[in-house]
């Protein structure tokens, strides 16, 4: 049995466990992930930056990690909570053990926790701040630990986005390019880049601080606003950037955070969901086809809009239609504009049933918008 560690919640609840990955102390927002496979994808997803991730499936690390499954080059969460970390890795692709890479990345972990009770606690409370303390850090009194957790100031959305974004522009070329797109990296996942490239887009991945002028200079056919972390309403510079793009009638694809920023630019509001949508089994209803699809999502904020077609609050941008919504809570999952070449999705569109053999994926729709403007 390994040495002990503590997971301390701001409300004073303490879960005992054992050390896992890096030892030390870390504070952050608790988020849970209900995926039964794909912990590597979640841990390398920049949207999870600066969080403490709780995995609801008990066995984590079984297949190790490998280069091709990384969504980015870093392990982003500050902390991880798992119940039964794997002692061996077993998969033909495995290159390293998960505990090994998390330790290298200084992600502080705790194992052996009743992750189900914890998850129910988070689901009930909504936003929960917590700290993991292990090694010397765990020696402090509970009261001291709780005080530390309560004192924590969450990082601002812009600092998060800045942290996860690329610092310089780089280009990923398609084999037979049909179009060139600028992808504003707000915390992009490799899967998004791969999808764009596979569909014949040469992708210029640009830093979060990119301006409309920079994009104009790049001479691209369209712009992709990636998914990423944080409260979208705080990102006023990016909302302004979107407005500039809308005014220029630039074809835009927004995913996740990008989708929310476009909504904000259109004058809609965003709100904190009573229950964050995280995990691979989020059902989404597509109004046009009458079909539902199981999607992968990871967001706490959502766009406030009426289902159906409406004039955007910023009326100059014309009509906006909510084309898809969540079957769990009716929250907005996709938008399309009547007068402007813009499509957005809240979920990760790279792997969901609707996309398997549907010709009109959001990527294809975006390609059409770039090619024809409608």
């Amino acid at each position: 049995m390994s040495t002990s560690a503590k997971l301390v919640l701001a409300d004073g609840t303490i879960y005992a466990g054992t050390t896992y990955a890096a030892t030390g102390s870390v504070l952050g927002q608790l988020v849970f992930d209900t995926s039964m496979t794909g912990y590597q994808h979640s841990l390398t997803n920049p949207s999870n930056a600066a969080t403490i991730m709780v995995f609801t499936f008990p066995h984590i690390g079984n297949v190790g990690v490998n280069t091709s499954d990384a969504e980015s080059e870093h392990y982003w969460p500050s902390g991880v909570v798992v119940r039964d970390p794997a002692r061996v890795r077993s998969n033909w692709q495995a290159e390293q053990g998960l505990d090994e890479v998390l330790t290298e990345a200084e992600v502080v972990g705790i194992a052996g926790v009743d992750t189900r009770a914890l998850t129910r606690h988070i689901a009930m409370m909504g936003q929960v701040t917590a700290g993991i303390f292990s090694g010397e850090a765990a020696a402090q009194s509970d009261a001291e630990l709780i005080a530390k957790v309560r004192d924590w100031t969450p990082p601002t959305a812009s600092s998060l986005v800045e942290t996860v974004s690329t610092s310089t522009t780089y280009v990923v070329k398609a084999e037979n390019p049909q179009a060139t797109v600028a992808l504003i990296d707000l915390g992009v996942r490799q899967a998004t880049i791969n999808q764009l490239v596979e569909r014949g887009n040469t992708v210029q991945v640009m830093p979060a601080a990119t301006t409309a002028a920079d994009i104009a200079v790049a001479g691209v056919d369209g712009v992709v606003l990636s998914s990423g972390p944080g409260n979208p309403a705080e990102l006023s510079d990016h909302i302004d950037l979107v407005k500039d793009l809308l005014n220029a009638k630039t074809p835009i694809l927004g995913i996740g955070l990008g989708h929310q920023l476009i909504g904000l630019a259109l004058g809609f509001e965003t709100y904190l969901l009573p229950q964050a949508q995280r995990g691979p089994n989020q059902p989404v209803y597509d109004v046009a086809s009458g079909q539902s699809a199981i999607t992968s999502q990871n967001h706490a904020y959502a766009l406030q809009a009426e289902l159906g077609t409406q004039i955007a609050p910023m009326a100059d941008y014309g009509e906006a239609t909510v084309t898809q919504y969540s079957l769990n809570d009716n929250s907005v999952e996709a938008l399309e504009l009547t007068d402007l070449p813009v499509v957005t999705v809240q979920y990760y569109p790279e792997n969901s049933a609707l996309e398997v053999d549907e010709p009109h994926t959001v990527f294809d729709r975006f390609a059409t918008l770039m090619a024809t403007g409608e």
Partner: protein, 1102 residues
Amino acid sequence: MPKRTDLSSVLVIGSGPIVIGQAAEFDYSGTQAIRVLKEEGIRVVLVNSNPATIMTDPEMADATYVEPITADVVEKIIAEERPDALLPTLGGQTALNTAIQLDERGVLEQYGVELIGANIAAIELGEDREEFKGVVERCGAESARSVIVNTMDEALEAAHELGYPMVVRPSFTMGGLGSGMAYDEADLHRIAGAGLQYSPTSEVLLEESILGWKEYEFEMMRDSADNVIALCSIENFDPVGVHTGDAITVAPAVTLTDREYQKMRDISIKIIREVGVATGGCNIQFAVNPADGRIIVIEMNPRVSRSSALASKATGYPIAKIATKLSLGYTLDEISNDVTGTTTAAFEPALDYVAVKVPRFAFEKFPAADATLTTTMKAVGEVMSIGRNFAEALQKALRSLEQDNDAELDFTVPDAAEVAELLESSKTATTSRLGQVQRALLGGATPEQIFATTQIDPWFIDQLMLINEVATEIRAAKELTQDLLRYAKRHGFSDRQIGELRHMDEAVVRGVRHALGVRPVYKSVDTAAGEHIAQAPYHYSSYDGQESEVAEHQRRTVVILGSGPNRIGQGVEFDYSCVHATMAMQQAGYDTVLVNCNPETVSTDSDMSDRLYFEPLTLEDVLEIIHAEEQTGPVEGVFVQLGGQTPLKLAQDLADAGVTILGTSPEAIDLAEHRGLFAQVLQQADLAAPKNGTAVSFEDAKTIADEIGYPVLVRPSYVLGGRGMEIVYGEEQLSDYITNATAEITAEHPVLVDRFLDDAIEIDVDALYDGHELFMGGIMEHIEEAGIHSGDSACVLPPTTLAPDVLARVREATEAIAKGVGVRGLINIQFALTADILYVIEANPRASRTVPFVSKATGVALAKAAAKIGVGSTIAELRETGGLPATHDGWSLPLGAPIAVKEAVLPFTRFRTPEGRVVDSLLGPEMRSTGEVMGIDKYFDTAYAKSQDAVGGKLPTTGRVFISVANRDKRGIVAHAKRLTELGFELVSTGGTADVLARNGISTETVDKITSDADQPGETILDQLEDGRVDLVVNTPSGSEARGDGYEIRAAANSLGVPIVTTQAAFGTALQAIQAQRDYSWDVTSLQEHDRRLAAVIENQR
């Protein structure tokens, strides 16, 4: 898309008797389907020949036909009922095959019956292997390289291309019947030869070996809007080579990267669309090469299957229920998720636990059978366990198996020599392999060595090492601390196991554990891994933290203990009684709690009870559940008399722990079960039992046998399903029996020696007693003579050849025993009648295997009444309130009451000797049947004919009959043989039987006995059988020739599906049935109609 409005009645086809590969899971799915259809206001017509099912309860469907599931019979039902649609996807392969036949014959078209939930093209695409390969290819996926053959020559040619070993699979068979792995040409001859016969299309597939690859299964669902979801992934602990029904499996898959998972999910979605499964569920099996991740699609089932029941229980997502709604036109997003209450059925369940399934086998019943696990399924049941990790779930599952503790892991450290042996034997997949691997690791074998011999995934191997390490820590620790106990419990160690490791009594461990406050909490299966806050009433134990999710309850709670894994001797019949008790108790205003670990059952449908605990049925687990219930509300007591021997044997220990036992008390149970005490009960009632004695040595046994005279019936003192029971005809055989006894004979485990009543008629009764009066549920007269286990014998209710005074004596004796024992609820008694003396064989103070049969045959819900008696109702009250018939009972059934015949279904063709031959099909005192059917009609002869048709042994009405009987039966067959010739049958016979018939003026064709003598090249009966020239075999065994001709003949008849009669009594009834089939047209009548007719007869009598 909302529900269709053009369907007002639907025909559902069940799966028939429980057989290996098609078991109680189809009762679970069928019952769900019927409930959904009824809720939707649709008239439901059901056909299922299996009376032991919940689905055939008269109150389930609107018209319930307990009739053979054949195209002929179902056509009659369609003609009678004119349903709008047929739902064939919930009754296994039987229902699907019947639907295909009805379609081929044009019956569906003729009567305008629409197939819903499936279409014939999709079924054929999914099940025809060659077509399916095309599907896989069109979906951009790979199949194993393969060749379809229709003859042996083609098979041999294909072997050159594919190389050995290769897999041989016949088309259109269920549970992998007839499949196998051919390592050389001899194997190929044997397996493909049989396979060509099993396949209804004489088609066999040969394919490249993927032996040792990782095996997975995906459960999928599609709706009419083309939404497809992946409900559950299942990973096999045993690599490819072991039928998935025989493999230990884990849900969800634990050794896949997300990319691999998504790839299989994508392929599954494409396949379900390409095959065109209209709506509903299907499963798809995959193999993954552990070396490079190459994925191969093995097969799909375009219907609800065994694994869908498992997946439903493993995820909390009710597949059959949703599939039924989809077949009515709903789409997934229109159906609510009952568990969360706030979300829809359009989602993929997230698990925050691990569910492990372990199969239960019955090789001890078939000593001659080869216990190697292959691609032909041999398991007779299964258990599932849920744990917060794999180790916990696996160990809970192993103790759920309830196999005299053999199944649980053994932590005795082996020496180097034994490690080498264990490694060697683990090369072959058998039921012992898990234990061999775990002990080899304990003795120092490396994970690499284990992988090399077994190809079990290294992650699983590490989990076994983890369990070993925990065991070692428990053994080495100075004392039991809170931390250590929690650590042990979180890896699934029972109090008993901890006790064994520390040389302490289980009760002491429990005492220490409770004193240290280490007790389980109960988590829920909520389909969403805690993401949505739900009050799911489906629980499993965990030693995580303090949060228990059991809801507070105000109403008094009745706990019903289930029957655990299906096995020979204890099957779905007991689940029936448990479910009925739940219904009755809910109706009586109680909260009901069910405890069971069998994922195939209706009782583990969380809709059935107020709370379901999916837990092992051991004392420890049950006590903790009762504790948890007491913490959350008032508990009335526990029923142990409904789930068979499994809960019954906990009665005394539960009572000792202060638990209230409802119904018959533990003291009364002891009076019936304890031989000495029971003898006193009989003596007081002036009833006779066969002479008997108890022996602890051969000398003892010999003395007793000499005193009472041979033949004697010998058996171990504690038996279930006649385990180890044998009829012994002489001293030599007695000596062999004692020498080869399965367990050591000791004072605690003596051998019982009974006088064997030759030529006796066996009588079975099920009755209710409330302390004041008896309600006779039913009296069953066995067709086979005493000596054949009652579970394997056909029987008839009401008795057709017993005189009224005999029935009166049976009733008196039953009442005297019920009173003497002190029964409160159900009692089952077996009698034997010989020379007009009624002997009491045994009494079981609990629900018996025949309760559902009796209930269906008489229209009286006995288990419900028993449950009510358990909480204080009297028979008089039940008669008044409609719980029991007001005026009659099973003893006083009037003439004109329907006649019901129960027939057993035997699994002999599943079991092969190491040489690859079918095991012998003789009936004896040891039970071997897996299930049963009921034939019900106005008269015995047609009812019996129906029962024979329903077990797939439809009796011929013309043709050739082979007769060869033992000496003691020769006199008895003459008249029967003569009648056969009068009916125009040709007779074939051998040796002595032929002579007897000839001297009686009956002409037969005489064929040679089977012999290896090269100088006798004449045609033998085997040749005729193989040529299809024999339509019925009558062969009774003589004691000595068990390995001789008789065996060969019975084995061949069984393999070829020729009906076979092995007792003289059954010959007589078969003859009656043959004649009835020629004389009368076949009527179909629903149970509801039988009830109406019975009521009319009773009304007329008054």
